[in-house]
Amino acid sequence: MVLLPRGNPVKENVNPGKINLPAALEKLQIGKFSGYLRFDFAEETGVIIFENGRLISALFEGSSQRLIAYDAIATIFEISLEGNGRLNVYRLAPSLALSVHALLHGDLLYKGQELKLIDIKSLLGRLKVMAMSGCLRIYTSDRVALIFYRDGSPLGFFHDGSTDIETTADNSLSVARMPGAKVDVLTTKGAGEGMLADLMKSADVTALWNKAQGELARRSRTVEEETLRVRSVREKDRRQNLLAVLTAVSVKHLGKIGGSMVEKEFEKSLSGALDEASLMVFYDRLSKAAKLVAGASKINSMLDEMKKGAKGILEEG
């Protein structure tokens, strides 16, 4: 789970599977967008960060994997196409976008510390002594605030709804005061504007998108084939069960020639779909053949028994 304040929302709760993501990224590029796209999936999160129209960072984080750059973009595309994700786009100031990028790719020093259980003054003192650059992430279940530090000195705050690093601590403090608030301490290595490449220039996101679409289609085909195979096996079993029941009843009433009659008429009348209509044709034909070896009352009682057995099997399907 990637914990980030929401920033200034541009689009919220969009299904990323229903939009052409390369085209959307291109629009953001042309529009010199700064901010981030957050993809929330069932168990994973993806973040794509733009700074002045440059796609500077991509991160995909799941419970057991963490991907960055092209791999992250490709995976975000693949999972988005499954259609169960949610996309939120937040605008940020370019400098904040860079800070967020640095934060996401930084190291986690402390994680999930209960705020009320730690000596915050002592912690801040340590950060100063260490001349640490990074941030404190203070969060609850639904709110997040970041306090950036550079060389051990506080730089500013980033909380839900803000687009730039702010100097007032009100919102961040309000998160810190909330019951159950926790804090993470993250260090950053620092990422200057000039150091970051534009991933959209160095990678063909349309090709990644097409590949993801191809992969999804292949998976769909595999699932479809498997579904068909399972259905076919089930249908075959059902057919064999029905034939076994009909044959047993026929042998009981007409002897072994009855079994042969059932097999023959089954092949003729029930080689297609197993439904009521084809069964009626089967009964009719079997009844005509059976008249050569048995009387009407015997045939009728046989058919009644067959219909009961067949009904049970058809209902199973």
Binding site: G255, K256, I257, G258, K264, K288, V293, G295, K298
Partner: protein, 230 residues
């Protein structure tokens, strides 16, 4: 002891039962039951001659024998059809075609008799020998065919009916076989009869009893089949 009248009555019953059976049952039974029904004419016509307007007309007597021959051919065809059905479970055709074809063959035979010279005693004897020969050999073939049918339908409701048919054809074989024996060796000629009285007596009795039991077994078999196919 002359059992002619009793035989005629029994064949009349057997013929009517078999014809009635042909109407109410599956197509494959039509040839068999129509064949047995035709025996009625084969038997009735020659025996009824003294009481009918056509008394002494050789063509009528010849037709009686020919219809008798047609009857064994038709019923043998029926058993063949049943055998094929019991092996392949395939059955084609239509009842009406069976009736019409049989009528057509009878009609063609009548035309054949009418366009030829009046049958002499020798001709009638030859026709009877041809008829009995057919009966004897086809009875043997039918017994074997019915045995095979029985094995194919062994545990079906109808199976015991085929055992009854085997008995029918054994009776018919004895009846027609002894008649053929008399005819082939001319045992019915007084000079031969005097020379071999025992053979003639045995053959006559066998023929009479075979005829009687054949008529009884035919009627009984069809009644039994009707019960089985109820």
């Amino acid at each position: 002891m002359d059992l002619s009248f009793l035989q005629v009555v029994l064949w009349l019953i057997a013929g009517l039962v078999s014809f009635y059976f042909s109407i109410g049952n599956a197509r494959v039974w039509t040839s068999i039951s129509v064949g047995f029904f035709l025996i009625l004419f084969g038997e009735l016509l020659p025996h009824a001659l003294p009481f009918l307007p056509g008394t002494g007309v050789p063509q009528v007597e010849a037709m009686g024998y020919i219809i008798g021959t047609i009857s064994i051919l038709v019923m043998s065809h029926g058993f063949q059809e049943y055998y094929v059905f019991s092996r392949t479970l395939e059955l084609e055709g239509n009842k009406v075609y069976v009736y019409l074809t049989t009528l057509g063959v009878v009609g063609a035979s009548l035309v054949f008799i009418l366009i030829n010279p009046e049958p002499s005693e020798e001709t009638l004897r030859a026709i009877r020998i041809v008829g009995n020969t057919n009966w004897v050999f086809l009875s043997l073939i039918n017994i074997d065919l019915i045995r095979k049918i029985y094995l194919n339908v062994k545990d079906s409701p109808i199976s015991k009916g085929f055992l009854a048919f085997m008995i029918v054809f054994i009776c018919i074989f004895l009846w027609k076989g002894s008649e053929l024996y008399i005819q082939v060796y001319s045992l019915d000629l007084p000079s031969v009869m005097d020379a071999f009285p025992l053979r003639y007596q045995i053959s006559q009795v066998t023929s009479m009893i075979g005829n009687l039991f054949a008529s009884l077994s035919v009627g009984g078999t069809f009644l039994y089949l009707a019960k089985l196919l109820r």
